[in-house]
Symmetry: C2
Subunit: 300 residues, 2 copies
């Protein structure tokens, strides 16, 4: 079962965190961009190559600390076809360094189109990532084609349940007539979708996205969905701290992977260290984050 | 107001339909693929160039009949970075022929990431399309960055409300405690998001996706959201006919644009005409579809 692959990497590194790779030009030290501008001038290629240097620098510095990376597709797509190529190169580099790649795409569509997305992201001739995020608004039709890859090619998915953003409640918190709210219903659907794929650690291939910015809901979801692994955004730059994510874990200290994007990528700015030290600053922040999270885990 | 731009193109061509551009290799006549294989062998470039020839052939044959095209991003993304470049070239070609481009991406994310998507799709250095589809699961945060482009750069969006696929009801039809169901609540949110951008034809920049495969709900939505323009999938290959879409229109014969993808793209197969005649077959189907839809419009 593919979620087992992620969990075994988490156990091997004793670190339930994933480093976001969301390349915003502003996060990248000037000296990198200037170097590439000397080669490519004001072509988008300068930005693309600067991001690649930044990403691979981060991956090199983090790959023995974190089990996984999460590129956010939007930032690559914003660079057009050169961004798509950059994404593919980044994924390949991370995989070569032994990292589990969760591509944050939040895709959703009718069956035939969801199948095209699944093939594009999971397929051998596509990006070939280990995991993607998906949006459940269209129901089972939009999930099934991804699930097929989970079963046949050891992939995993994370379905949006309770997102970390301020307005997530507008739809997700609406109380349903049947006596639960929308995100709880989605959590139950996610459990159902994962029912037949529970692996050796007790978690299915169909995970859920549940934000650290709603700690009470996160804790309640852990109890509600004992076989659903959580991808937890919201820690760090979005405002949640270690106490907020404790409830995402089970009594064995498993059950969730916590994401930090800006926190790790921009550690060099927060530290006010030399820009050339950006990768080591990211590593220091990843270690600090790991230790902080490990300190709050309830382990049996 | 940007939705006015689409509506004026619909009026000018007296045709409320949009042609989907969802390039599946199987839809393309063999002779085109073989020609490109002679140049590019078994490289993905052969498929990419075959699709470009197919797409531009369709656009040439349709551009005086239909006001808009709707590329489905999934099929381009499935081809990696070369697919992204193909998408950009297809969009540019369609715009050069005067077509309004609705890019079907169904994007959704937290505010900062939604802003990156909006910039990538609407921005001058991005794909620069006129309109995109978005998914509302994350609430206002995921919509606002797109709305900003609607207001400042004459763009429009279509928010998923009631999708055309068989399982759309699993979430969308759930009855809420407050006495309406989820998709009706979303429709009300879409009306609210569009409130301040109602143009000269009475429709806002924030449209809704509502499937022709649920005709009763489509008709009820028309009454519920008098200022929301509808993008209506499901006609043709997905099973809905002209009678099913009649309720999407207002008493002036406006208020909706009906999509057909496979129906138009694969008309040459259905007609069993010579493959070389694919573009004229698409044109014949687009004319037939237009006339069928015009025959059921309630016009005052």
């Amino acid at each position: 079962m593919s979620m087992d692959i992620l969990i075994s990497k988490i156990k091997a590194k004793n670190n339930p965190t994933v480093a976001g790779l969301d390349p915003v030009a502003d996060y990248i030290p000037d000296y990198i961009l200037e170097k590439q501008r000397k080669v490519f001038g004001h072509d988008v290629k300068a930005v693309v190559e600067a991001i690649y240097e930044f990403n691979t620098g981060l991956i090199d510095a983090l790959c023995d600390i974190v089990p996984a990376v999460k590129p956010q597709s939007a930032y690559y797509e914003a660079l057009g076809y050169q961004g798509a190529k950059l994404l593919a190169r980044t994924i390949e580099y991370a995989q070569r360094k032994g990292l589990y790649v969760i591509l944050d795409v939040k895709r959703n569509d009718i069956g035939s189109t969801a199948a095209a997305y699944a093939k594009g992201y999971f397929g051998k001739n596509g990006y070939g990532v280990e995991s993607v995020t998906v949006n459940p608004y269209l129901g089972t039709d939009g999930i099934k084609p991804f699930q097929q890859y989970c079963e046949e090619a050891e992939k995993s998915i994370f379905v949006l349940v309770k997102t970390s953003n301020p307005s997530s409640g507008e739809l997700q918190d609406l109380p349903l007539e049947e006596g639960m709210c929308v995100y709880e219903k989605m959590a139950d659907m996610v459990s159902q979708w994962g029912r037949s794929s529970i692996g050796e650690y007790g978690y299915s291939n169909v995970g859920a996205v549940a934000g650290a910015t709603y700690p009470a809901q996160l804790q309640a979801l852990r109890k509600r969905c004992p076989h659903t692994f959580f991808l937890v955004p919201g820690y760090g730059a979005q405002g949640a701290g270690a106490a907020d994510i404790a409830g995402a874990f089970d009594e064995n200290g498993l059950g969730a992977i916590i994401n930090s994007s800006r926190g790790i990528m921009c550690a060099w700015k927060k530290e006010q260290c030399a820009p050339e030290d950006f990768a080591r600053a990211a590593r220091r922040e990843a270690i600090r984050m790991r230790d902080e999270i490990l300190s709050v885990l309830n382990r049996g």
